[in-house]
């Protein structure tokens, strides 16, 4: 059920006045302008703050806007000129259809230009209204509402994946039609590999965007982390047989979205393989006690303390990755960390001098109390 509250006229005027005050504070030199233009020693602005309360703005901060003058302007909504020994002119200030205040100029001496000064002051007041309205609008304008982030991310994915799908498909057709052309298999394979790389980049950007927007979507349930690690190892590919994966015999149950956690593990394994070098090895071990923990240790050169601290920040890459032109955007560890954190786990990175980088993921253990949670999500 939606409840809509309609403001009464007093409340509406008060709200309009509050908005006017906020915006007016940004309008510079109103008082100076009014005083100078009207050749009056004093200029004041009064603005409603409550049903019967007002605030006066003046250059010296002490003067009060004459109550009777304000009441007259408020009641009539019109320019008011009083010239009975002390010269006073006040023009209404309006916002959203309400008289929310008045701009006045004052002189201790009588003057004979009341009508002319009044027109001038009214023109200034209208200008102030307009300026205030514009400032209020620009300050409160929401960003364009295209931003259903899910739609944006989906649209980007669609626009990239569709042409990639065509490239993959037509490349595969080429295999059939150019089977007798020397080297064609190798060329088509290059198309396929590069397409796969682009797909991974798109996936990484989408995951990073989802994490950034706090919109990582997943469904947590009891899953076997050992099985996820096995699948991740198979997915990253290890033609050189450099992954040394040691898994316990029993399942390691965690409460997690298997697809997302596999993405996180794949990033760890791919990074470790990449930085271990062609002859290096990667030790992967999984333990269930005291809490489910996956450790991935590479045999690369490791990282200094400075680099270690910034690793895992989106688009930040280690010096080796930059120097060696290793493909990637610097998103892998940040995605991994984001996914792990979203599950209530932790990612730690250590790199003792002379050793490679060790990444450790811990995830909350699944227990029977999580059954209710599992059913609810």
């Amino acid at each position: 059920m939606t409840v809509t509250t309609t403001l009464g006229p007093v409340d509406a005027r008060r709200a309009a006045a509050a908005r006017y005050r906020a915006a007016m504070a940004e309008v510079p030199q109103i008082l100076d302008l009014a005083a100078e233009a009207c050749q009056a020693p004093t200029a004041l602005i009064v603005v409603t703050t409550g049903a019967d309360s007002v605030v006066t703005y003046g250059r010296d901060g002490a003067a009060e806007f004459p109550a009777l003058l304000w009441e007259h302007v408020k009641a009539t909504g019109r320019l008011t000129v009083i010239d009975d020994g002390r010269f006073m002119v006040a023009a209404p200030l309006r916002h959203e259809g309400h008289v929310v205040g008045a701009l006045g100029v004052f002189d201790d001496l009588p003057r004979c230009d009341g009508e002319q000064t009044g027109r001038l002051l009214a023109a200034i007041a209208r200008r102030v209204d307009e300026e205030t309205r514009l400032r209020h609008r620009s300050a409160n304008q929401p960003f364009p509402a295209a931003a259903d982030h899910h739609d944006v991310v989906s649209a980007i994915s669609h626009e990239i994946r569709t042409p990639l799908a065509n490239i993959v498909g037509f490349a595969e057709m080429l295999v059939d039609t150019t089977a007798d052309v020397p080297g064609s298999d190798r060329r088509v394979d290059a198309i396929r590999r590069n397409t796969d790389r682009l797909c991974r980049t798109v996936d990484n950007l989408m995951h990073a965007a989802s994490l950034q927007m706090g919109q990582l979507v997943g469904e947590r349930r009891a899953v076997d982390l050992a099985e996820i690690v096995s699948r991740a190892a198979a997915a990253v590919g290890d033609p050189g047989d450099r992954l040394d994966v040691r898994l316990p015999g029993d399942p390691v149950q965690v409460l997690a979205d298997a697809r997302l956690v596999q993405v996180a593990v794949e990033h760890l394994l791919a990074n470790a393989l990449r930085f271990s070098g062609a002859d290096g090895s990667v030790a992967v071990s999984l333990t269930a006690e005291p809490a489910p923990a996956l450790t991935v240790r590479d045999s690369g050169p490791g990282l200094g303390a400075d680099e270690l601290g910034s690793l895992g920040t989106p688009f930040v890459r280690g010096a080796q990755a930059r120097d060696d032109q290793v493909p990637g955007l610097g998103l892998g560890l940040s995605i991994c960390r984001g996914i792990v954190h979203a599950h209530g786990g932790a990612l730690s990175l250590t790199s003792p001098p002379g050793e490679g980088l060790t990444a450790r993921i811990t995830l909350p253990e699944f227990d029977k109390h999580d059954d209710a949670l599992e059913g609810a999500q």
């Binding site: 569709t162 595969e172 057709m173 996936d203 997943g218």
Partner: protein, 129 residues
Amino acid sequence: MSREIVLIVEDDADMRELLTHLVGNAGYECVGAPDGRTAARMIVTAEPIAMILDVEMPDMDGLDLCRLVRDDPANRDTTIVMFSANVHPDAIAAGLAAGADRYLLKPLSPRHVIAELREAISERAPSVV
């Protein structure tokens, strides 16, 4: 005996051509439609054994078309394979909930698409690839 018909509903002309070629080579007769509304009209006359649907299309998207097909008992045995670039889990769930037998993610090797199509036709069991 006439060949079994597969209706390919895809707004991307290149992809439609590609799928038509591959599905045709796989032994099916192919008809193509660039949007859901055109496809909805073609179903009546073509009586396809299966459909490969893009999801995001102008003039009736793949989800609406899928629901339309599933709401008609005459299409009870029609296999529906969605082939979409929208990889968001919500989109996959929506596709399967709409009645698709498969939700395949672009890009996917055409050989796999054909393999999935054949398998879906034979079993019509929902799964995600």
